[in-house]
Symmetry: C2
Subunit: 202 residues, 2 copies
């Protein structure tokens, strides 16, 4: 029970405040459950949130809607964490720092991403990442303008590529084909190469 939402002067809490508390409890519990196991079901999430299943389904009529809300919240969390990453200066080094910072979060919430990939179409996953993709877009655009990155491929494609390569690495780690420690340098090497036309292309 959050102090800010306590009923005042002995009156019962308004229903809307209850609903807000329930939604917050559900999202916290769902994030924690899905981060441990991407296959956690609705009954387990309701139990972890301390709400009834009717309440859970009242707020999130399908598991896909709940997973979508958890993913959106995780991206918002990532957005805050990435504010601390310096993406000024040399664009190549900025990409390396952004990949390292993003990987911390992608790795921590790798199972939330796996749950999303099982429940939601790729385009929905991309759309939910738009807030963080704006940052990537601006950095690649700056690199293209300074000549550090190739300008012969469309900027939206290179932005999509950054997300795709990062998420592919998360899937490789989940599948045991790559370790979480190897991932940031592999993703950085791959992306920097893709962002730079090969020497014998020039």
């Amino acid at each position: 029970m959050a102090a800010a939402a306590e009923p005042t002067e002995g009156r019962p809490a308004p229903r809307r405040a209850d609903a807000r508390r329930n939604v917050a409890a559900i999202l916290n519990a769902a994030t924690e459950c899905l981060a441990k196991n991407p296959d956690t079901n609705m009954a387990e999430i309701a139990a972890a949130a301390g709400v009834g299943r009717m309440t859970l389904y009242g707020h999130f009529p399908t598991r896909a809607e709940l997973v979508d809300a958890v993913m959106t919240r995780t991206v918002a969390h990532a957005q805050q964490a990435l504010d601390a990453v310096d993406i000024s200066g040399d664009p190549r080094q900025a990409v390396a720092r952004l990949v390292a910072g993003s990987w911390q979060i992608v790795d921590q919430f790798r199972n939330v991403l796996a749950a999303a990939e099982r429940e939601l179409p790729p385009d929905r996953i991309r759309a939910a990442h738009d807030p963080v993709l704006d940052r990537v877009f601006a950095l690649i655009e700056r690199g293209q303008q300074s000549g550090a990155f190739r300008a012969d491929l469309p900027l939206p494609w290179l932005t999509t590529l950054a997300l795709t390569v990062m998420h592919a690495a998360a899937t490789e780690v989940s599948a045991g084909r790559m370790t979480a420690d190897q991932a940031p340098s592999i993703v950085t090497s791959t992306l920097l190469a893709a962002l730079t036309a090969p020497a014998d292309y020039a």
Copy 2:
């Protein structure tokens, strides 16, 4: 009713032959329906196949299992088509030819892929592509050995990357952010760059 499976000498066709015919009709109809619309439902597929819903669910208890079977069959079809692509000679040119040949199929069955991405986890989609990935793996390995491709990134990762980039392009085309005509050259440029360490890295 296929002539080859007709009952002989007036005896009723064995049940197993009926089942085979039904499965074939279901897979044909499902492939055609999903290639047009990735959201085609089970009732529509049963109707298109000319079988009852009980028969459909008897063979494919869930839509995910049916989509999985359609995807596996599409990859087998791709496998045959790719036999015609020459991947000998210069590894860079071989990658360009393999991308062009693969794109034909990925584009034709873009909606089957979209249906698979909505129903199945990414690792299952990757596993279903193993037959075509063996080809990609061997080509990248040859390029690494000849020095045409970088050897500082793991071969399984570069193979995954090829599939991931191809499928990301299909999603971009479906989302209207890229045209089907642009895709093969964009995918080729992206992959060849990723397969070659940037000049200032050497």
